[in-house]
């Protein structure tokens, strides 16, 4: 090890020590100072009741399976519709102009309206037209509401991916004799989709949380189950349990999105 390397190792060690110390100081301050607040005992009793935590955890975990199921069947629908809308917005033939208008309108409307509102409108409104059971299930129409909203977001993400592909790629594909359709399918889309994977991961994390909004129209998923416990026990600990369960799923997902984003950046630089 030469002198310069030794110096750099020393510097790195010093930086690590300082980071460790300052983190410890902040943690210690939180641990020591928060309990000094006058309302801490009540807050602890209301939000961090160990007994209630253990009692409600299994049921809430089971309720979370409902969220996962809704999420699982929504994602393929969202990507399918999102891709269709993105392609519609990118349609170049003059005859397809109505399709472009439709795509733009669709994105404007469903990206502009709060998810909860769409869930109420579609979840209560469409079944209210007189559909027979089981076709009026809140699971079906709640999913439709999620798909409508999120496909608008995903369509925009995909469109930005498609537009980020340099025009020379298209020109080259046409020179090689590929049709417009094949150009899109074999040249543009594979590159575009790969480029927007990190952004789409973020959308999935957001969707994972928004699934809980379906509880407004009836399904008893984790947020609703926590709310039921809250009103039975007059205690907010079940919400903390729900938050912990959500974190168990979303933190790895977010980290994975970060990893993908970094890899993408490194690959490009």
């Amino acid at each position: 090890m030469n002198r310069r390397q030794a110096y750099e190792v020393g510097q790195r060690r010093r930086a690590l020590a300082i980071a460790g110390l300052s983190t410890a100081a902040v943690l210690l301050a939180i641990i020591l100072l928060v309990p000094l607040a006058p309302g801490w005992t009540q807050v602890r009793a209301s939000f961090f009741d160990g007994g209630i935590f253990i009692e409600t955890f299994p049921t809430l975990l089971r309720a979370f399976l409902v969220d996962i199921a809704i999420f699982a069947w929504s994602v393929p629908l969202i990507f399918g519709l999102g891709l269709a809308i993105a392609l519609a917005r990118g349609a170049r033939a003059p005859a397809l102009f109505p399709l472009r208008i439709f795509g733009a309108l669709y994105v404007d409307v469903f990206r502009g309206v709060p998810v909860v509102l769409v869930i109420y409108l579609v979840g209560f409104g469409v079944p209210g037209l007189g559909l027979p059971r089981p076709w009026n299930s809140p699971y079906i129409w709640g999913t439709v509401a999620l798909v409508l909203t999120y496909s608008a977001y995903i369509a925009e993400v995909l469109r930005s991916g498609i537009e980020s592909i340099h025009a020379s790629q298209r020109a080259a594909a046409i020179c090689l004799g590929l049709s417009e359709r094949d150009t899109m399918r074999y040249v543009i889309l594979p590159q575009a989709i790969r480029r927007v994977v990190p952004a789409n991961m973020n959308m999935l994390v957001a969707l994972q949380k928004d699934v809980a909004l379906l509880s407004f129209i009836g399904p008893v998923e984790i947020l609703r189950q926590a709310g039921i416990y809250k009103s039975l026990l007059a205690n907010f600990t079940p919400y903390v349990v729900a938050a912990v369960i959500f974190l168990i799923v979303t933190v790895p997902a977010t980290r994975y999105a970060d990893y993908l984003m970094n890899r993408d950046r490194n690959a490009r630089s």
Binding site: G39, V43, F124, P127, R133, P138, I217, G218, P219, K230
Partner: protein, 269 residues
């Protein structure tokens, strides 16, 4: 001179003691000389008429003013505020002295907040829509799809007493349950009787109160109490005032005036 002073101090003591006897609530309310009462947002018929508790119209509004009078507050010293269920049970300072919005007294809730003695014992009633074929019979009720409001004690009643074959759907408030009934996502809903009567008559077209479960006087009865912060010294004053209202029949008179239709609904066997 000494005698004169003694008389004066005796007089002052007399005045003080008479003032003390007059108002138990002195110095125990948020604002001296005012009684701040919270109700729901919105507050529903027949508990509060037209969402205007200041008018004293509606059962809970009338009880509130009677209570205030009994506790030594003039009608103009009653200040109204609004809270949600969650705001009522969250830890920390509250912006109300007492909160009246059909809070059912339960042992679990009593650990976190204080309840007054009960001012009403509610029977639970079943609402159905249209179809005369449904009988007020337990076996029939088991086969229905149920909906209830999450924060009410109707939920344990449905899951434990009725124990339907299909798991119930849960909603945030009365309006959402009504919407789900209109969309025929649920067959039946359980409310306290006065709310059920209102829903059937006004909110739900074709709605019908199928029958009521008897309001038992036992420990399982659904009794409404005014909610206060835990350990609130005002509790004894409220309880004392309620005893006064009950003993001379004033509470029954208020009940008869605002909740009288509740009498001729068939019992469920």
């Amino acid at each position: 001179m000494l005698k004169c002073l003694a008389t004066a101090s005796f007089g002052a003591m007399l005045m003080a003691s008479s003032a003390l006897a007059q108002s138990c609530a002195d110095g125990k309310t948020l604002t001296e000389g005012k009684l701040t009462i919270a109700t729901g947002n919105p507050a529903y018929y027949p508990w509060v008429i037209d969402d205007a508790p200041e008018s004293g119209e509606g059962f809970e509004a009338a009880v509130a003013y009677a209570l205030a009078k009994e506790m030594g507050f003039a009608a103009e010293d009653v200040v109204w505020t609004r809270t949600s269920f969650d705001q009522a049970i969250q830890p920390g300072e509250k912006d109300f002295d007492i909160n009246m919005q059909q809070f059912s007294i339960t042992p679990e809730r009593d650990k976190v907040v204080d309840f007054s003695a009960s001012y009403y014992t509610a029977a639970m009633a079943v609402i159905v829509r249209g179809s005369d074929a449904v009988e007020p019979d337990m076996a029939v009720l088991k086969g229905l799809k149920w909906g209830v409001v999450a924060s009410t004690t109707a939920l344990p009643m449905v899951t434990q007493t009725i124990a339907p074959d299909a798991s119930p759907l849960i909603y945030d408030d009365t309006a959402n349950v009504v919407e789900a009934m209109k969309a025929s996502q649920i067959d039946a809903a359980l409310f306290d009787l006065p709310t059920a009567l209102y829903v059937a008559a006004v909110m739900l077209e074709g709605g019908r109160v199928l029958g009521q479960f008897p309001a038992e006087e036992g420990p399982d009865a659904d009794r409404f109490g005014a909610l206060m912060t835990d350990g609130n010294p005002l509790k004894e004053c409220v309880d004392q005032a309620l005893v006064g209202l009950k003993s001379d029949g004033r509470l029954s008179a208020i009940e008869a005036k605002w909740l009288q239709q509740a009498t001729d609904v068939p019992l469920i066997k």
